[in-house]
């Protein structure tokens, strides 16, 4: 069984075992090591990628189910996704990144949230981060970074009248 899908805008064909987790294809064959393999059971969110624009876990996604779909990793998001770029800059600015294991997954989960929920409060941000675990810097600083992004988006979009 051959599986063909779009990976960061380019055609990717995979001829191996269709039950291979997407995370292994990304890291071991495409050398896209931005997506982290940590818990491998859907709890930590470090392997979050976007499939058809939706954040999902690459450790739990068999490649064989991706036929015809579009996959975006942190490498692609850093180049093509404006909200992801905003988040990356804010995380760096508020010093939210320490070991770096959770950070790509956080960006992949939160960029869609940022795009679709521009009026979110801190509580909504925390709900959106439920599946992304950080063991280093603590969540409040990460939430601070997201709130900065939301404030930036507001000021860029102008005031309500």
């Amino acid at each position: 069984m051959s599986t063909t899908f779009q990976l960061n805008g380019e055609t990717c064909r995979f001829d191996g075992d269709p039950m291979t987790p997407l995370i292994d294809l990304l890291r071991c064959q495409r050398f896209m090591t931005g997506t982290k393999a940590v818990c491998r059971e859907g709890f930590c969110g470090a392997c979050t990628v976007n499939v058809e624009g939706e954040p999902v876990l690459a450790c739990l996604r068999p490649v064989g189910l991706l036929e015809g779909l579009s996959v975006m990793t942190i490498e692609g998001a850093s180049r093509y996704d404006a909200e992801a770029q905003l988040l990356q800059a804010a995380f760096e600015r508020v010093d939210a990144v320490q070991c770096g294991m959770c950070f790509p997954g956080m960006v992949m989960s939160l960029s869609k949230f940022l795009r679709e929920t521009p009026r979110a409060d801190r509580n909504a941000v925390k709900h959106a981060m439920v599946g992304n675990i950080c063991r280093c810097t603590g969540y409040e600083r990460i939430v601070d970074a997201v709130m900065e992004c939301l404030a930036e988006a507001h000021s860029a979009g102008g005031a309500d009248v």
Binding site: E41, R61, P62
Partner: protein, 278 residues
């Protein structure tokens, strides 16, 4: 070698294709969020599988005259979106909207959840038990229907020969609520779950995650039957009539799962009365 790899996973487009593949000994793959953890549990992935996620007939949520029809391949997210404006099903929607974490809810399906025989912490199982749902199956002999409790009790025996196609929830459900207790605020498996529903004038109470298989709390239902519902009184009776044997697990010991039930009953009763859940 190439031929073996080619056949490992097939993607069914129709219920008939999936049923035939099941008959040939293939395991059913839904969202994959449970089966893909097999390696970390020290288990092997199934050798041959059939994916049912692209079968259009299994991905629908429909409101019929007497029932809500929910296909087996409907994800937790899709169920939440489809039924969030049905206040009578607040319990079921809360189960779908609060289980696991957002990324899992985008791929995990109703059918996959119910077919994980070893998964005691399913949110759907108690929510559907409380609502009096029926489970629909496709077998070699044709369609079959089982009440939710019977399906849960017999699924290990039934599922190797039957494809779960969906559930039907009666529209006689007037109100429902769902309360779960994870060790963190969210994102992990709940220690205990209490679901309640008022169906055709009867109060149904179901408990999940405490014992290996979710079940109705019939002695508590009978004690509360005909009384004016009151959260404190319901919790007192729950403490007196607690006939659960808690299972020991990584999140919590059995005694603790049992111990929290009266508090969850109090919260669930309050949610049922107020029309809210979460």
């Amino acid at each position: 070698m190439h031929g073996i790899v080619e056949e490992r996973l097939i993607v069914a487009e129709t219920i008939e294709e999936a049923r035939d593949a099941l008959r040939q000994g293939r395991a059913v793959l839904a969202g994959g969020s449970w089966v893909m953890r097999a390696p970390v549990r020290g288990q092997a992935l199934p050798e041959r599988l059939v994916s049912v996620g692209r079968i259009a007939a299994l991905s629908r949520v429909e409101v019929e005259e007497n029932e809500y029809v929910i296909g087996a391949a409907v994800t937790h997210f899709a169920l939440t979106e489809a039924l969030r404006d049905v206040p009578q099903l607040t319990g079921l929607v809360t189960a779908a909207a609060t289980s696991a974490n957002p990324a899992v809810r985008r791929v995990a399906t109703l059918g996959g959840n119910l077919c994980c025989v070893d998964f005691a912490a399913s949110d759907f199982a108690p929510a559907l038990l409380a609502c009096g749902a029926l489970v629909y199956l496709e077998t070699a002999q044709g369609p079959a229907t089982l009440p939710m409790a019977e399906f849960l009790a017999r699924r290990a025996e039934v599922l190797p020969r039957a494809l779960l196609t969906g559930v039907r929830v009666p529209r006689s459900v007037r109100a429902s609520a769902h309360q779960r207790l994870p060790m963190r605020k969210a994102g992990d498996y709940p220690v205990a779950i209490v679901s309640m529903a008022i169906c055709g004038g009867e109060l149904h109470i179901a408990v999940g995650s405490v014992e290996p298989i979710a079940r109705r709390w019939t002695v508590l239902e009978q004690a509360l039957d005909g009384r004016t519902l009151n959260p404190e009184r319901a919790a007192e009776l729950a403490a007196t009539l607690n006939d659960f044997k808690g299972r020991d697990g990584i999140e919590a010991d059995g005694w603790y799962r049992r111990e929290v039930l009266p508090a969850l009953v109090r919260r669930c009763t309050a949610a049922l009365l107020s029309g809210e859940s979460k």
